[in-house]
Amino acid sequence: MTKATKTKRNKNKATKSKVTKILWIVCPIVLVCLAVWLIVAYGTSPATPPPSGNSSGPAERVEVVYFHRTQRCPTCIHAEELTRYTVENYFKDELKLTFQVINIDDKENAAIVEKYGAYGSQLFINTVRDGADHIEEATDLYVLIHNDQAFVTALKNKIEKSLKGET
């Protein structure tokens, strides 16, 4: 190897390490800027509209429906158990309330799956008022699954609201 190529190599190495150093500084800055930009640009989500005041009295019927596939996971089974606990513990004597567990993969359930648009382990509350369905997916409960007490309380509140026809 000649001296010239050697120095050239060393030079290359030096510039390479410089480049990596710069990259190590620039990358985090870019990421932070990106995060700040996202937060500033999109800001806060629009506030949820207040429940409409012109609800026509209490519900005729409230259907709590829990869907699952044949393939289940521990978290989803736990969700069903918590829902069952809430319904049986707090609404035992509530005649207007029904609780169903539906397997999506069962061909017999095709009609109800279609009606709710279900695709997985999901919880729906259907408030029937004046003969019309008001189907709502309880998505805000999904993130509470690891906190039993919070899940049960939130679901209880939801069902009570639904029974009063406030949804």
């Binding site: 999109y42 989500s45 044949t70 996971c73 695709y119 382990s121 998505t139 993130v143 690891h146 919070a150």
Partner: protein
């Protein structure tokens, strides 16, 4: 860890998406694939930066997949139930066998190649192992597509509706992906630093590397078997 409690207090979609990602990453089923990813990311003890870059690429791979799903639903208007059902099937039926195959291939370069004297399988194996960082990206893209029942409702039931109603929601799946990839990136880096430290200390870097490579293959096969067993059980 009560992430959900924190989440309720935020009204910033970007932060909600990030937290949703974290909640997804630590729930049992996605955790299984994340452990495989963790093993992959931290497998090279001698190169400290390798774990960071592979972990970042793994996260990038997840961002890629989630963004595509997000665009398909938010922009192209695909129906959520159809996409969700398809991807849950994918998770059960494709990912498990694939992980087993990749695990066996990776194992073959370490062990079988010696006894069989090379052959096609080991040359494929060498290639897979040399994918290295690109492998991290592919792994992320693939693992993101495999939805478990719980991650499916968090993504399709919570994140996508949030993205649909907030301005610029198309970017939220990518932010969610960062949340799901963050634990792998952080723990992968820590693990690889720890292994590097210990192996230099023991003066046995090459031996430790070999053991890790076998361990990674076994973890892949183990996670694959776990997924396949869950699928067969039904």
């Amino acid at each position: 860890m009560d992430l959900s409690g924190i989440m309720g207090n935020f009204n910033i979609p970007v932060l909600s998406a990030l937290l949703l990602g974290l909640i997804t990453a630590i729930s049992p089923c996605p955790l299984a694939t994340n452990i495989a990813a963790l093993a992959y990311v931290s497998r090279r003890a001698t190169e400290r930066r390798y774990a960071v870059i592979t972990g970042a690429l793994y996260t990038l791979g997840r961002m890629f997949s989630y963004s595509i799903i997000g665009v398909l639903i938010i922009v192209a208007g695909l129906e959520i139930p159809g996409v969700a059902t398809f991807l849950q099937d994918f998770g059960e039926q494709v990912l498990g066998p694939l992980l087993i195959v990749v695990g066996v291939i990776m194992l073959s370069i370490n062990k079988i190649s010696l006894s069989l004297g090379g052959g096609k399988l080991s040359s494929i194996g060498a290639k897979v192992a040399n994918w290295g960082m690109i492998g991290g990206f592919l792994l992320g893209a693939l693992f993101a597509l495999a939805f478990c029942p719980y991650s499916a409702v968090l993504f399709f039931g919570v994140l996508i509706p949030l993205a649909l109603k907030s301005a610029g929601g198309v970017t939220l799946p990518a932010v969610y992906a960062i949340g799901t990839g963050l634990p792998v990136l952080v723990f992968g880096t820590l693990l690889s630093l720890g292994v590097a430290r210990v192996s230099t200390w023991l003066d046995a870097v090459t031996r430790v590397e070999k053991i890790i490579r076998v361990a990674v293959s076994i973890i892949f096969i183990g996670v694959g078997i776990y997924l396949v067993v869950r699928w067969i059980q039904t």
